[in-house]
Each structure stands twice: as structure tokens, then as C-alpha cells.
Amino acid sequence: MLILPCPFCGQRDESEFVNAGPTKPSRPDANVSDAEWVDWLTVPENPIGYIEEKWWHAKGCGKWFTIKRHTVTHEIVTADVMPDDVGKRTGETT
């Protein structure tokens, strides 16, 4: 069970979250070829090493966020907000 850094709530247990897989490049334009579309749709990043992925704080604040996690060690190296900064976030931010 990981500890995940929600950019809003801070460090929380993995069981509060939903994993949504690796980050995809942004949705292709309408004019891309079929092959490019199929590639975007079906071919994910799948490295041994760091992967950028999406998580949803489903049982928490509802935030979608991105982290960079190692697929073997499961170490998280970057996140929308780094673990150490979480919790320092105060004040009306908009």
C-alpha cells in the first residue's frame, strides 16, 4: 500500500485513491491519421523505471493528479505537489 501525495490533502493511504494508468499525451487533433489515433488510444508507456501516471483521490477530495513513480521500487519522485510541500499549503489559493 503506497502513500500518495494528494496535492490538496497531503499524504494519504493508497486505498483512498483510484489508479487511472499512465498519463497519455494530450488528445490528438481531429486530423491525425487513423494509425496515429490507434497508437494514442492503445499504446501506453510501459517502462521499467519512472512512469508518469494519473490518480484520483476518489474517497478524499476528488482531485485528479499526476505523479512520477518507479515501476519497480514504487518510489514517487515527482508529483503535482511534492510530499514535503503538502500541508504547508494554506490560505485562499485561487
Binding site: M1, E14, S15, V18, N19, G21, P22, D34, A35, V38, D39, L41, T42, V43, P44, N46, P47, I48, I51, E53, R69, T71, V72, T73, H74
Partner: protein, 416 residues
């Protein structure tokens, strides 16, 4: 190859078993082979065996980065079954089960293949409908199911005391898939390796493929390993969860992701359950090995992973749901748990295919592929040798993705 039999065992006992020979040889690594198979797991070794046996191709080397049979074949829950849903999948798995049935004799190696049936314990009507659909479609292809009532279920699995009328999901019925079997997983790798080696195939352990090598015209030329370059006319990537780590070195991108799937065993106990029990509604399945431990599996961890251990939350889910049907197991003890790295294709159906790189073949997407080892090897060997997909594996080529013609085996039963 020394023949294995009760007689040879007795004969060798006289010399205190000093005269048994190696299962597989340890030859030096040559510069070039006709066929290179990357990965000495079940599928890779079976491919080597069938290339030699069915197609007479023996100038083959199997390259394995670790120890032979140490990948997923060492860590699966040994369920063999053919109860798939789709017309595209069924012929393949039916073929695999039938190859399994004759395999011990084919390999002259006791794989402890035990045709003991799988019982799907059903707790919701939608699941019942889905399994009955499997039953009727499977029947067309020679995969069977029959229905039993709850009383008969409890008679056949007396340890299953949960799921009564007062429980959260009362059992409403059960379906028996009688072709289902268990089999000594490690033995499958060893048996194929022994047979392939005897036929002249070389198996090189501790030989890790780092890169695929291509000719100027793009065709495959060989591989780069930690022990140097090895050339070949044809190369097959049969490394289960690690497929992309190899194909990407040649710029080949595949519609697969790697996941961690875990399993666990209880302490060994006296014979208790002689079928495979599968609970698709709760998501857990188990069988009892000949040594007595219960072998239990659940769902994969949804996060991509190349790690072989266990996520506590995923594991806990499997335990909780198992105890719902087997409340007495609360006092049974966990003995060991482990995981494997599997790849799952975008549509969750396997891939056995040639690729855009001439001479390069892949067999991947095997997240429930122990049962598929014989047919996977059989059909991949066919493809490598003839250049044409074998008819039972024809739907499994990469072409299907060009037009998003997915083979959707979703809602698939829990048992791998």
C-alpha cells in the same frame, strides 16, 4: 535422454541416484542460430520444443536472463481451463487443454496434471447469466460447463460453509467446468526444457537480452546480450511481463501494460478441497496442491508494476473474500505470498504475432497464460516455422488493433 519410469527410478536407486544426468545441457553460446527465443518461461520453452518436434527446427537457442522457469511460470496458481467466452478465444484454449492432457507422456515427465474440475460459485444473477453464456458458447467449441445446485456444491466442497442465506451474497448456484485441471507449474518448464534440450535446442541461462539488432533493411539480425552479440534469422520475444522492455529497443511499441499479480499459499493441511473453487462475484479462487497447501489467487493490482511482491490492500481483498466462503479458514494460516509481472493487452486478449519488423515475433499479453503454455508454444512454433498463424491463434495477431477489432473477454471469470 534417460527415460523416466518406475523401473528406471528403482534401477537408479541401486546406485544411490548418482547416475542421473542433467535435464538440460550447458553448451557454450554460439555466434548464430536459426531461431532465438528470448525467455525460458513456459511459452518460450514450449515454443522451442514444438519447433523441434513438429517442424524439425533445432538450431534454436533459448536465452533466459535469470534461471530457467523463474518467471511467472514459477509463480502462478496452476489453473488450467478453457471456459472462455468468445468464439475467437475458445478454440485456442480448448486446444491448449487437450495438449496438456497428453503432455506428461509427450515429455516423458510427470507433470502431475490433475483433471479435477473447477467449480464457479455464483452469488449474483448477472454473474449466473454470464457463466451460462460461457457454457452455451463454450459448448460449441468443446468446452463444457454443467450446473449444480447449492446442496450439491456443499457436498462436493464441504469446507465451503459460508455464503448461506443470511450472508451478504448468498450462493445461488454453481457451475462445474470439468476440463479444468491443475498441474505442477515448475514441472512444465522443466519438462519442456528437458525435451527441447534432448532434441538439440540450446538453453542459455543468465543470458539477458539487452537490445534487438536489425539489418539495414530493418529485418531482425539478432540480439545483444550481457554475454555478447548473438545473431539469428528469426527472433521471438516470449518474456511475458517484460515484453516492452525488449521490443522498445527496436522502436516497436505494443498495446500492453505490465501489472503485478500476486498469489499466496496457506500452511499445508490434509486433503480438504479436490476441485478448483472460483468465486467470480467476490474475486477469489483457490485449489489445494498435492502437498496440502491451499493456493489462492485474487485480482491484479491496478497500478502498472514490474515488481514481484504483494500490495497489502489487494491481498487483503482476496483474504476477506475467501473467508466469506470459507469462514473456518480464519484460523488457517498464511504461509507465503509472492507476485509476478504480467502483461495485459489493451483488450485483455493475448497476442501471438509477427510484427512490423521482419523476422521478429512476439507472444505476449499472457496474464492468464499458464493454461496457454502448450498451445501458445505450439502455435508460435507454427508461426515461426511457416510464417502463417496457426488457425486457432489467427485471431490473436496484432492486426486486430489496426481497426480496433478487440476480442473482449471482459467480465472474465476470476481464475487466471
Amino acid at each position: 535422454m534417460a527415460k523416466f519410469s518406475a523401473f528406471s527410478l528403482a534401477w537408479n536407486a541401486l546406485s544411490h541416484h548418482r547416475n542421473w544426468t542433467r535435464y538440460w545441457q550447458n553448451p557454450p553460446l554460439a555466434k548464430k542460430y536459426e531461431v532465438l527465443i528470448i525467455g525460458a518461461g513456459g511459452h518460450g520453452l514450449a515454443t522451442a520444443h514444438y519447433l523441434a518436434k513438429n517442424h524439425g527446427i533445432t538450431d534454436t537457442a533459448v536465452l533466459e536472463k535469470g534461471w530457467l522457469g523463474g518467471g511467472n511460470i514459477a509463480r502462478n496458481t496452476v489453473t488450467v481451463r478453457s471456459n472462455y467466452l468468445r468464439d475467437e478465444s475458445l478454440p485456442f484454449f480448448v486446444k491448449s487443454v487437450s495438449l496438456f492432457e497428453g503432455l506428461s507422456k509427450d515429455l516423458n515427465f510427470n507433470l502431475m496434471y490433475s483433471n479435477r474440475s473447477m467449480i464457479d460459485v455464483i452469488q449474483t444473477y448477472p454473474k449466473m447469466r454470464e457463466i451460462r453464456r460461457r457454457m452455451m458458447n463454450g459448448y460449441l467449441h468443446g468446452s463444457s460447463y454443467s450446473s449444480i445446485d447449492v446442496a450439491e456444491l456443499r457436498r462436493r466442497v464441504p469446507a465451503l460453509t459460508g455464503g448461506g442465506p443470511e450472508s451478504r451474497l448468498p450462493i445461488i448456484g454453481a457451475m462445474v467446468h470439468k476440463e479444468a485441471a491443475t498441474c505442477r507449474h515448475d514441472g512444465v518448464a522443466w519438462g519442456y526444457a528437458r525435451s527441447a534440450s534432448t532434441r538439440g535446442v540450446e538453453i542459455h541461462q543468465h543470458t539477458e537480452v539487452k537490445n534487438l539488432l536489425r539489418d539495414k533493411d530493418g529485418t531482425i539480425k539478432g540480439v545483444e546480450t550481457n554475454r555478447g552479440t548473438v545473431l539469428a534469422n528469426k527472433v521471438a520475444v516470449v518474456v511475458s511481463g517484460h515484453t516492452t522492455t525488449i521490443t522498445e529497443t527496436a522502436g516497436l511499441r505494443l498495446p500492453i501494460k505490465s501489472f503485478n499479480l500476486a498469489a499466496f499459499v496457506s500452511e499445508p493441511v490434509k486433503p480438504l478441497i479436490d476441485v478448483i473453487v472460483n468465486c467470480p462475484d467476490l474475486g477469489v479462487y483457490l485449489n489445494q496442491s498435492d502437498k496440502g497447501e491451499l493456493v489462492i489467487g485474487g485480482a491484479p493490482d491496478p497500478g502498472q508494476s514490474f515488481r514481484r511482491d504483494v500490495k497489502q490492500n489487494v491481498f487483503e481483498e482476496a483474504v476477506v473474500t475467501m473467508l466469506e466462503l470459507f469462514p473456518a479458514f480464519r484460523r488457517l494460516k498464511l504461509l507465503r505470498q509472492w507476485g509476478g509481472v504480467l502483461d495485459i493487452a489493451h483488450d485483455a486478449t493475448p497476442i501471438i504475432s509477427a510484427t512490423d519488423i521482419p523476422g521478429l515475433f512476439v507472444s505476449c499479453g499472457w496474464w492468464g497464460g499458464f493454461k496457454a503454455v502448450p498451445a501458445g508454444g505450439y502455435t508460435l512454433a507454427h508461426l515461426i516455422a511457416t510464417g502463417q498463424p496457426h488457425n486457432v491463434a489467427a485471431p490473436f495477431t496484432l492486426d486486430r488493433f489496426h481497426h480496433l477489432d478487440f476480442i473482449v473477454e471482459s467480465g472474465t471469470t476470476t481464475a487466471r
